[in-house]
Point group: C2
Chain length 204, copies 2
DNA sequence: GACATATCGGTACAGATGTACCGATCATTG
DNA sequence: CAATGATCGGTACATCTGTACCGATATGTC
């Protein structure tokens, strides 16, 4: 057995031999979620997309549930890592804080056709969290990292209620993105978010 | 055959005999989506939840796809009807426009435990629309009704860019609700939305 | 009343599904 | 080198899936 509890091999360990397979399987899960939906994630399809035998899915992941959980974890980790890096970058360079705020959001979550798939996957997995307590912790940490980064930038931009403003800004972004996905429209959100950020910062 | 094209019997018609069954099936779909997820919507489960024989599902709906589409349509229709009513009410009574704006949103989409289920169903179906063009039209009309109602109220409240503000406000609401669902937290969004609305209206 | 049609309920079936199992192969340790 | 355990790949199986079918019943029209 390679993994009994949730995602044992990845975190620390000196990377077991088949770790590449594990990652290929997770990548396949995310791809399928994005292109077809979470209900299309079956052992056979995951194996096929990853180019691996069926049994590899049950070897590396105890169950389908585990497969989905690990995939959300991976997506969240990647996203937060990218965001933290971006945040540090913006704090060092002298970029206009308001630009940095909008950039921090649109950088990761732009509505481009290329990212549309992974965006759908993200929302789908977030929604899964609404029903599985095990995933809620991941979702919490995820939004927490976003809020921390945003509120720090907002503070530099002169916001008197940086935390509250960050919450509203992040919420607006997620909501607008979801609406765009649902209605099939594609527009640049930057101007709107900039207007929102400006309005919030100007508020005493 | 009772229904060949998408949702024939419901719109006008003198209500065919088995309409009650049709509605019971749709209600069952929404219930399942809310409690377990869209992938749990199977003919057998729908029939069981609705207390009807299996064959009734294939009789009233051509396919599983049709079943889901009709369910989204129903949810959207109910919601928009309620919103339009609320909007008209607020315009007649002399309610403070800003209160009305926040009320229009929280009235329908409060985060109470009772509504949590239907809220999850709504988001799940919205996400389905991201992948099925047939649903995008419904999603578009849905958000359009919201934007129209909100922007009218915002105009009365003195907003110089009512339409833009409505978009941001609606986006923020959806996003915050989704984040709450995903992280398992339950808080009253009214104060935050009120602050947002005020900030937007104050912006020249 | 009789007839056509809508509705109903039970069942059948081919295919997909999650997962268990088992023997082969590989890397690593002693 | 031997041996031990991780890794692999193929297959089996009970169950669930969507949907088709068919005979029975209810309803409305002449």
């Amino acid at each position: 057995m390679a993994t009994s509890s949730t995602s044992r091999p990845t975190p620390d360990a000196p990377r077991p031999r088949g770790a590449a397979r594990r990652e290929a399987l997770l990548a396949a899960v995310l791809k399928i979620v994005a292109e077809v939906g979470p209900d299309a994630v079956t052992h056979r399809r995951v194996a096929e997309v990853a180019g691996l035998p069926l049994a590899s899915t049950t070897y590396w992941f105890d169950s389908k549930e585990h497969l989905l959980t690990a995939a959300l974890e991976l997506a969240a980790e990647r996203d937060t890592a990218r965001l933290l890096e971006y945040g540090a970058e913006m704090e060092q360079s002298g970029t206009d804080p308001l630009d940095a705020v909008v950039g921090a959001i649109t950088e990761c979550d732009d509505g481009s056709q290329a990212n549309r798939g992974s965006l759908i996957a993200t929302f789908a997995l977030l929604l899964e969290a609404a029903r599985r307590p095990a995933l809620q912790q991941i979702a919490q940490r995820w939004t927490e990292v976003y809020l921390l980064t945003l509120s720090r930038l907002l503070e530099r931009a002169g916001s008197a209620h940086a935390r509250q403003d960050a919450e509203l800004l992040l919420g607006a972004t997620d909501g607008l993105l979801l609406e765009q996905l649902a209605s099939g429209t594609i527009e640049d959100l930057s101007p709107r978010l900039r207007r929102l950020a400006a309005a919030l910062v100007a508020q005493p």
